[in-house]
């Protein structure tokens, strides 16, 4: 009986995921209204529940995809994977005024470059602080602080050890997860309440999953603006980290 039930969940995994996420959303909005009087947004609570479940899934299975590694919930991987996430992000652009984007355009581009460089330097300085001296290691960890995709791509290009590449991925994951949680909490402090600052936020932080979830938990109307710049960030990071930024690190540390 139980076995056939698991099999059914496995076979219809995406549908099961819709039901599971729907239930999670309902629970999160109920908690938000009942215990925080709507002060902590339902979507922020839902994302935190999601992260907690992902931690649980990772600890139980030792896999890489959080709760999606438990076969009962494998559909979450498809529902929350890159394909549907990007489709939904693009859909949020419907109804956006192009003039808004053009207004913040130049500062958005500045934020993109500043974001990649600041994150890279932050990661690199921490690496040096922990005794890493090889320019390849410093660059790879710095690139990990850009995003968890830039880190391993840079590490593989430069021939870093798998231990350092794993570290760079972990740094990127910490960044992404912290962004999801910290953005709604600091939004007022940093003036994240209009399209322009959302575009700059997307460029400064850049990690698509973190920006996507952080803005969703802050104000869903800001999502398209932040996502627009953030989607250029990883590409820019992969362009700069193993080339220009590596040369700079080697000139200083090597």
């Amino acid at each position: 009986m139980l076995e056939s039930l698991t099999e059914l969940f496995d076979k219809y995994h995406l549908i099961a995921a819709f039901a599971v996420i729907g239930l999670t959303m309902y629970l999160a909005y109920w908690v938000s209204a009942r215990f925080t009087r709507g002060k902590l947004h339902g979507s922020a609570i839902a994302i935190m529940i999601g992260l907690a479940l992902a931690w649980f899934g990772g600890v139980v299975t030792g896999g890489e995809d959080g709760l999606a590694d438990i076969s009962l919930f494998s559909g979450l991987g498809l529902m929350g994977g890159g394909m549907l996430r990007d489709l939904a992000i693009i859909a949020t652009a419907y109804g956006v005024q192009f003039s808004e984007i053009r207004q913040a355009g130049v500062r958005g581009v500045i934020a993109l470059f500043a974001g990649v460089i600041v994150s890279f330097v932050a990661g690199g300085v921490v690496a040096v602080g922990f005794g890493y001296t090889d320019p390849v290691d410093i660059t790879t960890i710095g690139a990990g602080a850009v995003t968890y995709i830039v880190g391993p791509v840079t590490g593989a290009t430069l021939g870093a050890s798998s231990e350092v590449i794993a570290l760079s991925i972990a740094a990127g994951l910490v960044k992404s997860i912290l962004t999801m949680v910290a953005t709604p909490m600091t939004a007022r402090l940093i003036g994240l309440d209009n399209p322009r600052s959302a575009m700059i936020f997307g460029g400064m932080i850049g990690t698509t999953s973190g920006v996507a979830a952080g803005l969703a938990a802050t104000d869903a109307r800001l999502v398209p603006y932040g996502a627009m710049t953030a989607t250029f960030y990883t590409g820019l990071g992969i362009l700069l980290a193993p080339t220009l930024l590596f040369l700079v690190v080697r000139a200083i540390a090597g």
Partner: protein, 137 residues
């Protein structure tokens, strides 16, 4: 028909991804350079072009709006499939590198956004924004 909206969205996504892929190849990087962002711009232009010509009926729009409304649930599913355990087990180097990157990034947002003169236009934009309906929120 609803499928027209979904197809328009999907078409913009694929064209955007192709352009992003070509950009990546031109620059010699093993990555899609901003394909999603380009797709967003394409969707903004095509839908406003169609709307001006009265060729964007309600069923078509609902095909786009469905995915728009599914955004937050999809993000929750994404959060639930993150490798949170690995982030915690990366040790102090990974933790500090990630935290420092976020703190500095957030702190620089108001610096780059600038202050006074543009503030009033932002407020106006904000007012206009809140009048647009975003379902699912």
């Amino acid at each position: 028909m609803v499928i027209y909206g979904v197809a328009l969205l999907a078409g913009c996504m694929m064209v955007g991804l192709i352009i992003g892929d070509l950009l990546g190849q031109v620059l010699g990087i093993d990555s899609n350079l901003g394909g999603v962002g380009i797709a967003m711009l394409l969707l903004i232009f095509t839908t406003s072009w169609l709307k001006d010509r009265n060729k964007l009926p309600e069923p078509t729009v609902s095909g786009i709006n469905f995915w728009n409304a599914m955004y937050i649930p999809i993000v929750v599913a994404m959060a639930a499939s993150q490798n949170v355990a690995a982030a915690f087990s990366g040790g102090l180097v990974a933790l500090l590198a990630g935290v420092l990157a976020v703190v500095l990034g957030l702190a620089l947002v108001p610096v780059i956004a600038g202050k006074a003169p543009d503030r009033s236009t932002d407020r106006g934009a904000d007012g206009r924004l809140s009048s647009t309906t975003r379902s699912g929120y």
